[in-house]
Symmetry: C2
Subunit: 313 residues, 2 copies
């Protein structure tokens, strides 16, 4: 099997953006950015796939929760760039085991979250197939030129995360309690993303979909910097490993200028400083993050690999 | 299994567009239309899925042809609305049988067509899975308010189709010759779509993805009209049934005002008048098309069913 990193690298190289394109950011961030002619807004686009047997098992999620999660993954990418969701499209492959009631509940999960977040369901495609596959594309907006990106972190910036980490990984392991609920019903931090863009003027951001060690490494590679962190805030009961490497928390990791006044909480959600951006270490050969002074390799939860979430060469 | 029409109907009802949304056309046409704040352009979005075992069989297509076709399906929706493609995103589920060389060739097929048509590859998502599934989303533009839609046909309009119909269905049956090539390498009629919008000012258009009888019926239902046609131009060797009902030709079906001057050819492509739009027949109960005076039921090639291609109730 062609490994996923090499696919992404191949696409990055071959799909270069021609001069004059209205795509001002392509493969390599949470969303692509498109600049409509004459508009006050930039548009953000992201596409996320869930595949039965890879991202979930038949029966592991209630159908409405699964539909909700399929959309949440894309909404989280919009949140990471400070965007406001505007619409979504859904491509769905329905397997024989999914009866009418199951499919209706799955669709209700998507449609209800779409309505609640402003991501109007505006099309898609349906097919039958052996396994359930669902791809959700979300379009969102930011005022022109204001999208939070991965490549804006600068040495001296402070690094923050929202929430508590490792809950989804803990839930996947134990299958019960608050952590399991966390795994089943993650939330896209849309209001926080807008706050980071408008109020805090964060210098960079990324959503924690594949684990802190993985996603912070991506942010550092995109920005050409390193990071020094201490232990992140762990979800109640989560191990240190789960907090550092567990995926699917969908919290936001962001950087701010040194003197930025970051509140302890955004609404109910703690914002915790976990370290600082430092100069890139030329000897680090790709691993850019140090935890308490020791290299922290990107061991994130990479069952899948988004093109937009690709580490750069 | 929930049947696909009922899924689409459920989504149409539940996913209504709220007041103030920038989505000015949702489920029910080839593309959704989004109007960016202050822009001179409207944006078009469409998403099309190919699934192994449903839309193709392992080994039926060379990988580059399959990648090309995956993108062509979405480009054809952009063409049908007179749009110019601007970018695409691809969600790909890679099965174990697809080795590195196969995947590279598949991606090359997409990337080369993307580059040739201006649909810059700007992100997506990758996963592993049992069967190959590929969803391609394309974003395109038209000058504000000028998109060709399905709902603009009016009684007295003349009905035209481009090209010759039934070639893809013939190729699927015989597996050889020009018809097979036609099935393997369909083309999105992008230049024709722009010509219909800018020069001919067509009143409505749709792409022939699911067969003339099916797609003309959709256009009639969307416009609230009926149609009277004669035999359409058949691909060399195709049967009457294939020309009337065969899918995947990706020609454009369009209507123009009675006095519009439609050339016999657009570049190499014949434009053939096949009939006229008439008033809706209240007794027709859904089937709106007459061929030589007799009802032509929509027997199109519906192996799959696009949300945007949904017949209305």
């Amino acid at each position: 099997l062609r490994d996923e990193r090499s696919i992404v690298e191949r696409l990055r190289r071959s799909a270069s953006i021609p001069a004059g394109s209205a795509i001002i950011l392509g493969i390599g961030d949470d969303c692509a950015i498109y600049r409509p002619r004459g508009s006050a807004d930039d548009m953000l686009f992201t596409s996320d796939l869930i595949v039965e047997g890879v991202h979930f098992l038949r029966g592991s999620h209630k159908p409405a929760d699964l539909g909700r999660k399929a959309l949440t993954r894309s909404l989280s990418d919009i949140a990471a760039m400070g965007g406001t969701p505007r619409f979504c499209q859904m491509a769905l492959c329905v397997p024989p085991w999914a009866g009418a009631r199951w499919v209706d509940a799955f669709l209700d999960g998507i449609v209800q979250l779409a309505a609640a977040t402003g991501a109007v369901l505006a099309g898609g495609d349906l097919s039958q197939g052996d396994k359930l596959v669902c791809d959700v594309t979300v379009g969102g907006t930011v005022p022109r030129g204001t999208a939070l990106r991965r490549d804006g972190a600068r040495p001296g910036n402070h690094i923050y995360t929202s929430g508590w980490l490792g809950g989804s990984a803990l839930g996947l392991e134990t299958g019960r309690g608050r952590a399991w609920k966390r795994h089943l019903k993650p939330e896209a931090r849309l209001a926080l993303g807008e706050f980071l863009r408008k109020e805090l003027r964060a210098t960079s951001a990324i959503d924690l979909s594949d684990g802190l060690s993985q996603d912070l490494n991506r942010l550092c590679l995109a920005s050409g910097v390193g990071a020094e962190i201490t232990e992140p805030p762990a979800f109640a009961g989560a191990t240190r490993e789960q907090a550092l490497h567990g995926g699917e928390d969908y919290e936001l990791l962001f950087t701010v200028r040194r003197h930025a006044k970051v509140p302890a909480y955004f609404r109910e959600l703690p914002l915790t400083r976990i370290g600082s951006i430092v100069n890139h270490d030329p000897g680090s050969s790709g691993a850019e993050v140090r935890l308490n002074g020791r290299l922290l390799p990107p061991n994130g939860y990479v069952r899948f690999f988004t093109i937009s979430g690709a580490p750069m060469p």
